[in-house]
Symmetry: C2
Subunit: 465 residues, 2 copies
């Protein structure tokens, strides 16, 4: 794709990783179909709502305090919903922590990766710092999504069993987005991916004791990826074969890596557009079953009190992530409890932020929670992660049994949220945060819908009082 001046690198420039790097570096606005640009604005609005909502969460405030204590007290980059400004690195870390905490940020099914939480914080912070345009921001975000999703697909299910893909693949996604904004050439971008991959980290172990690590993972990915791109711009080199090499990411952190996924349809398949929005405020692994349960309840006019037992037929990944969460003790942990999510959906018709905050430990929720089971389903498991099928068997107290099924949970590309629904979701998230007035948020969201035309990204939220 590119002539490397350095002989030792010439061969590796033909590698899949090099092709991915060349794509991320060479992507231009004119290459991207308008529908993908519109989808990217949707993703931007959706991310912004999550970032605003998350900034008042305790773990996020800890990370923001650290970033602001260690970074400069003023700078070009906005710490969203706090009124603070600092360096791109510090802002990216704080905003990335915020975006992932309320479990409302987007997800790409095939890679089981949450791109927005790592890509937009890094890209927005840098765009604000260098005075980039809205169109440049969108193209950078797309570079990040396309790289991160393919890396996540490449690392596979064995990786996800132990590693939080959003933390690992997310580091390369952030590097690609920032590298695109900084104008890296293909060779520099390959170095940026190398420096990102060698910092990639994030383990699922924290879920067992309801620890705060998920926010640290996104903060770390955004910060380390951003650093990798700046270093590459400055001539710092990274491993040429960080993904497929004998001592690279797949060798160390996967047993079923699929190299073909790294370059799958580069430039023709837009993985960005495959990304799903979250409707329920919980781990995405709970959504298919929640929607299938709601379908049964609506079709048969059932109320929560009528449910005697709900069997969810799930993929192994759901069991791996949700299985350890039996008696959730915090709001955040309860978002990884299949029983809690289904109980809230059954009781309120939607498992949203407010439902979790107010009712995750209510006796009625707990009673219903303990009547929900997960069983491995071969059909669901073999379709996963390409497709996230929801299947439930519902037993009522009066002895009836119903089957429910959804092939595309709400928010998936074939069952997506409209711009009105996305705006409303963002406004709900802002209201939940209690920090940002409705009018301020509405103006900010309205501007984001026209990001492509903005000559400068600028501040996303007018300065708070």
């Amino acid at each position: 794709m590119n002539k490397a001046p350095d002989a030792v690198l010439t061969k590796t420039f033909e590698s899949r990783t090099a092709q991915l790097a060349a794509f991320a570096a060479g992507l231009r606005h004119a290459h991207v179909p308008p529908a993908v640009l519109r989808k990217t604005e949707d993703l931007l609005v959706d991310w912004f709502g999550s970032a605003v909502a998350g900034h008042s969460a305790r773990p996020v405030e800890s990370i923001a305090r650290f970033a602001l204590a260690m970074g400069p007290a003023t700078g070009p980059s906005e710490v969203i919903a706090t009124g603070a400004s600092t360096s791109p690195h510090a802002a990216a870390m704080a905003n990335a922590a915020a975006a992932h905490v309320v479990e409302q940020d987007d997800v790409h099914n095939g890679s089981v990766f949450h791109p927005a939480a790592v890509v937009f914080p890094a890209a927005v912070a840098v765009a604000q710092s260098i005075g980039a345009s809205g169109a440049q921001l969108l193209v950078a975000a797309i570079a990040g999504y396309e790289v991160g999703i393919r890396v996540g697909e490449f690392l596979g299910r064995s990786h996800y069993r132990i590693f939080h893909t959003t933390g690992t693949a997310g580091t390369l996604a952030a590097a690609a987005a920032v590298g695109q904004l900084l104008g890296l050439d293909a060779r520099q971008m390959l170095h940026a991916l190398g420096s990102a991959g060698t910092q990639a980290a994030g383990l699922w172990g924290f879920l067992r004791t309801a620890a705060d690590s998920k926010q640290l993972h996104t903060a770390h990915a955004a910060g380390a990826g951003l650093m990798a791109a700046y270093l590459a711009q400055d001539g710092f080199t990274g491993a040429a074969d960080i993904l497929e090499g004998k001592q690279g990411m797949a060798a160390g952190m996967s047993s079923d890596a699929d190299p073909t996924r790294l370059v799958d349809g580069l430039g023709s398949r837009w993985a960005t557009a495959e990304t799903s929005f979250k409707w329920h405020a919980s781990c995405r692994h709970t959504h298919p079953a929640a929607d299938a349960l709601l379908q049964v309840m609506q079709q048969h006019g059932l109320a929560a009190g009528q449910l005697a037992r709900v069997v969810t037929h799930v993929h192994q990944g759901a069991i791996d992530v949700l299985g350890p969460v039996v008696r959730p003790s915090t709001v955040h942990q309860s978002k990884f409890s299949m029983g809690t999510v289904l109980a809230l959906a059954a009781r309120f018709g939607h498992a949203g932020l407010t439902e979790f905050e107010e009712a995750f430990l209510a006796p009625e929720t707990q009673a219903l929670r303990d009547r929900v089971e997960m069983v491995l389903d071969p059909e669901v498991d073999s379709a996963y992660p390409r497709q996230w099928i929801g299947k439930v068997t519902v037993h009522t107290h009066d002895g009836r049994v119903f089957e429910g099924r959804v092939d595309e949970p709400k928010g998936d590309p074939g069952n997506t949220l409209s711009r009105d629904e996305l705006s409303a979701k963002a406004l709900r998230l802002a209201a939940f945060s209690g920090r940002v007035a409705a009018g301020l948020m509405a103006r900010a969201v309205d501007r984001l819908w026209h990001m492509e035309q903005c000559p400068r990204v600028g501040r996303l939220l007018e300065r708070l009082p």
Copy 2:
């Protein structure tokens, strides 16, 4: 060891990781034998020389530029040998990058871990920020060494085949040192280790293309570990079982983890004192063979020109790390070339910084380099990593064959460097850097020898002009 108020954590507080955390949090000056304190001063002086020498290296300058661009322009913590001051986080990253680049920093054999490069940069930066005493700095460093070494031993040889243990175990080492300085209790320290372990990263892949990642690994470990400790002080929680848990570090990054090593002799065995100093300025895997070759040459009065062939009998780890480096193209890469190191040692009696800089590509060096082989030796391999035995077979042009053997290469605890040798090494390193005047360096080293009595750590180097 400790009563956790949180029920969910009570059981995990009996885990080995919790015992390690309680040790690191509870360590006090009175617990440490004087000989270990003296050794820690030795390690401090030795680290300082490497940090001074490394700051003018291109990759280190890149990391320092990034840290200073993203951090505050002034602050309590010193960027060694540059005259700059910034926040503890930014300074720790810059100084950690510097300490590892000239391949003269210390190594612990059993863990194959370079503690100084990650522990001292984090500990010194924080000590300067909070006004800690010299004695507190030494105790904090010991906490970092004891934790990092045990984590490295725990992760084992399978980990080291793919991962750079100094980057991974180093993140926990930095967290333990900083956590000790910040006064974390046992519970907070366990959270700090959790947040450090979930950021632990560093892959060997970079060696194949002579990339700059080694400096990024130490910068990352020091920065991420420091962050983990500050977050824990602020109430941020981490996985309770980050090392042994089903989705923890060993599960994801090792296939031969040995849990008993985590608590091996805690409080009675001082792993800090087992640390070796480097004499040659190269990867430690080359030192045993280099010393064995020098022994043969001295005993039999051989000159470099008489060597027809040198067979080194090595452990598998040496083949894994050094094997890919056949035609080194940079000074740094040549430090991972067994042939180059032995050629320089044979030609000059010592493979030091100046020898590498001036002669790693000299025709005489290359000719000799290509006459050096590595073969796996069962005895050497089974003793490794506990003991690093050097064995060589030397063939001369006139047909003679000699065997050489050293059981403790120069710098190992049983063949250590004296304080005079350490001072001289530090002064040589400063001279090599070309940035720090000899008198300035001599005064700084002299003060470090008395660190235990310093009421404040303060600046290590008087301000540069």
